[in-house]
């Protein structure tokens, strides 16, 4: 059976557009609001990434750190994250959700226990920032057995040889990091150059769904729309921070922002 992530990409291909993939942090700014946000933005987004916050992130920039901080201050726990997914999936069982975070939370929960929770709440995929290839092989296989997508990352520093191995071991989606940066950095490489790298990777295996993330905003998204998918994260986290500052409703604001992002890639 095809995964919901694979189906989402197929659907977008039919519509001749990239998949729009959002990233928000579970519990930002409250548990309820983050669920409401998912519900709203899932009308426009094809795949939803949901961060589970860690307080010592070594690869996140200021915006996502801020979101994680707000979530943790609200007392978000893994069990709440799974609750949010479960509630979301009740209404929208076919919309893929990918959890993203750092390995220590999985390590403490126990890999098997964590995956059991993923399965029962309806998580479709995982991105673990600090579990690179080949150390991730064991865990990635466990995911596969449970039909959960383990999504690997590629970076501008990844050698061709290494890319081949990672792609060979990959599931339904691969994530290309657009530039040397933490999340939320300014796009310091031209979209043209990013697409050049992207195309080189695609050539290794054209069938694999390859998405681009890091530094993408409403300003740059349309110039990258030939990719299979585009991830927007920090811009959404920043939007939440701004609405809170201005005492606006983050849910309606995010709905609008994601709607606008979608308009730019169709």
């Amino acid at each position: 059976m095809k995964s919901k992530i694979a189906l989402a990409f197929e659907n977008c291909k039919k519509e001749k557009r990239p998949a729009l993939i959002t990233y928000t942090v579970a519990g930002d700014n409250t548990k309820n609001n983050s669920l409401k946000i998912l519900n709203k933005i899932s009308k426009h987004a094809d795949i939803l990434e949901l961060g589970f916050a860690h307080n010592t992130p070594i690869a996140d920039g200021g915006q996502i750190q801020g979101s994680s901080h707000r979530a943790l201050k609200n007392g978000i726990k893994l069990k709440d994250v799974f609750q949010i997914v479960k509630k979301f999936k009740k209404d929208k069982p076919n919309k893929p959700i990918i959890l993203m975070g750092y390995f220590n939370l999985i390590y403490q929960k126990g890999e098997d226990n964590f995956l059991k929770n993923c399965k029962s709440s309806g998580v479709d995929g995982l991105i673990i920032v600090d579990l690179p290839y080949p150390e991730n092989k064991n865990f990635a296989n466990k995911c596969k057995k449970k039909s959960i997508n383990f999504i690997q990352l590629l970076s501008p520093t990844t050698s061709k040889n290494r890319m081949k191995k990672i792609i060979k071991d990959s599931h339904d989606m691969i994530y290309y990091i657009s530039m040397l940066s933490t999340t939320g950095g300014k796009l310091k490489v031209s979209p043209k150059k990013i697409l050049q790298n992207y195309n080189n990777i695609k050539r290794i295996n054209p069938k694999k769904n390859l998405v681009i993330g890091f530094g993408i905003t409403d300003k740059t998204i349309s110039s990258l729309k030939s990719a299979n998918g585009l991830v927007v994260g920090s811009m959404l986290c920043k939007t939440i921070a701004n609405t809170l500052k201005m005492r606006q409703n983050p849910v309606t604001k995010l709905d609008k922002v994601v709607y606008n992002l979608k308009k730019k890639i169709i």
Partner: protein, 410 residues
């Protein structure tokens, strides 16, 4: 499975193919972007450590820039005062810059030059790692940036001044507890974004495996000198010899013990117990913390059930860190070393006693080690020998000491 240390093999090399010690400590839990720079550094270092020319260069800088050997002295007055074991000190604070962090900093700059990097970045807590990196960077013509928690910038002023004088840019870190743990995170994040032009130095035996290796390998100079000095003084390695060292990240202890690994010398590591009345501490080994992942490596680390890293509190900025080197986790589980902690109050008292009686004045980090020596010595026979690594000078802690004790002596 019972963990064991292998003989005739450097501790840093006793890892498996995943860079884990004892199958569970260390490793490389890093973002994909850092894989290549870390692989490159790993290959470069494995070449350099076997390269005669590089070793000669290192030894030359250790001798003429850092100053070796650092003194090995008997603390006659302290020994008399306590009336038990004979207490000695390895006065590593006599090294250029005033602490052991100079060894790691110098080697990293030498490596950065070989890697043709123009920029070097590092983290610091007590400010020594930063001060030394700024000194070495200046010496080798590298542009230097130091990440330091805003709280530490306030409490370690003399070292901050020194960094500025050496021309380093200091980046205050205002996230989290604004101490060492946050400085290391921020430094790693910076490296993720700049690894193509910039070399990173991690200030202790923590982080991804290669940084643990480079740091312990560099700091091993302390015990290379000491084992000679001990043999000269006693004609042999004394029975029941105890080597006491404070542990924050664990670099000074790793360097102090390295050459004695295959001998019968006993190792005692002293963690920061924090204020007596506080539940916060920085003693993951003493207080039975669970294994978790911090800064790219699996280690005993202070954390909650969920895996969020816990806050710590210590009067000593250099020890105020929730994790501990995977090397020390391995030494603990193999029972090769024993770990205990000293409270803020005990460390302050130890500083005071040593500074009053002797010509040396340890900073608050080694004062934790002295506190353990002071506890132990009276219970031991006068034929027994304790050596404490006095790896920092109290000058940097002048403000805190004045505040806590009313006056500062040196």
């Amino acid at each position: 499975m019972k963990l064991k240390i292998k003989k005739n093999k450097l501790l840093i090399d006793q890892h498996d193919k995943n860079f884990m010690y004892g199958g569970k400590f260390g490793g490389n839990f890093i973002p994909e972007t850092l894989k290549k720079p870390i692989d490159d550094l790993t290959i470069l270092f494995s070449k350099l450590r076997n390269n005669k020319k590089f070793l000669k260069e290192r030894d030359n800088y250790f001798k003429n820039f850092i100053g070796s050997p650092t003194p090995f002295i008997k603390l006659e007055n302290l020994t008399d005062h306590l009336g038990g074991a004979q207490i000695y000190a390895k006065v590593v604070s006599e090294a250029n810059g005033g602490a052991h962090k100079i060894y790691n900093a110098t080697v990293h700059c030498l490596i950065a030059k070989r890697a043709r990097k123009k920029y070097i970045v590092g983290d610091t807590g007590a400010g020594y790692a930063g001060k030394m990196l700024s000194m070495a960077a200046k010496k080798f013509g590298l542009k230097c940036k130091i990440f330091m928690g805003a709280k530490d910038i306030k409490r370690q002023r003399p070292n901050v001044e020194a960094m500025k004088k050496n021309g380093a840019e200091i980046v205050p870190v205002t996230t989290g507890s604004q101490t060492l743990v946050d400085a290391v995170s921020e430094c790693m994040r910076y490296w993720v974004s700049n690894c193509d032009t910039t070399h990173m130095c991690v200030g202790s035996t923590v982080g991804p495996n290669i940084f643990i290796k480079i740091c312990a390998w560099s700091t091993a100079q302390i015990s290379r000198e000491l084992i000679k000095q001990v043999l000269e003084e006693f004609g042999k390695i004394p029975d029941n010899l105890k080597l006491i060292n404070c542990v924050g990240g664990g670099s000074s202890a790793a360097g102090f013990w390295n050459e004695f690994m295959d001998t019968h010398a006993q190792f005692i590591g002293v963690e920061a117990g924090g204020p007596k009345k506080s539940k916060l501490h920085a003693a993951p080994l003493t207080n039975g913390s669970k294994i978790g992942i911090l800064h790219g490596a699996a280690q005993y680390v202070i954390q909650n059930k969920e895996g969020q890293i816990g806050s710590t509190e210590s009067i000593s900025a250099g020890l105020d860190y929730p994790g501990i080197s995977p090397l020390h986790c391995f030494l603990k589980d193999t029972k090769r070393a024993r770990y205990t902690s000293a409270s803020d109050e005990e460390a302050l008292k130890a500083y005071q006693l040593v500074s009053k009686l002797e010509n040396i004045s340890p900073s608050l980090e080694p004062s934790h080690a002295f506190a353990e020596a002071i506890k132990l010595a009276p219970k031991l026979k006068s034929s027994e020998i304790i050596i404490v690594n006095s790896c920092g000078d109290s000058v940097k802690d002048k403000d805190i000491i004045k505040l806590k004790l009313g006056s500062y002596i040196r």
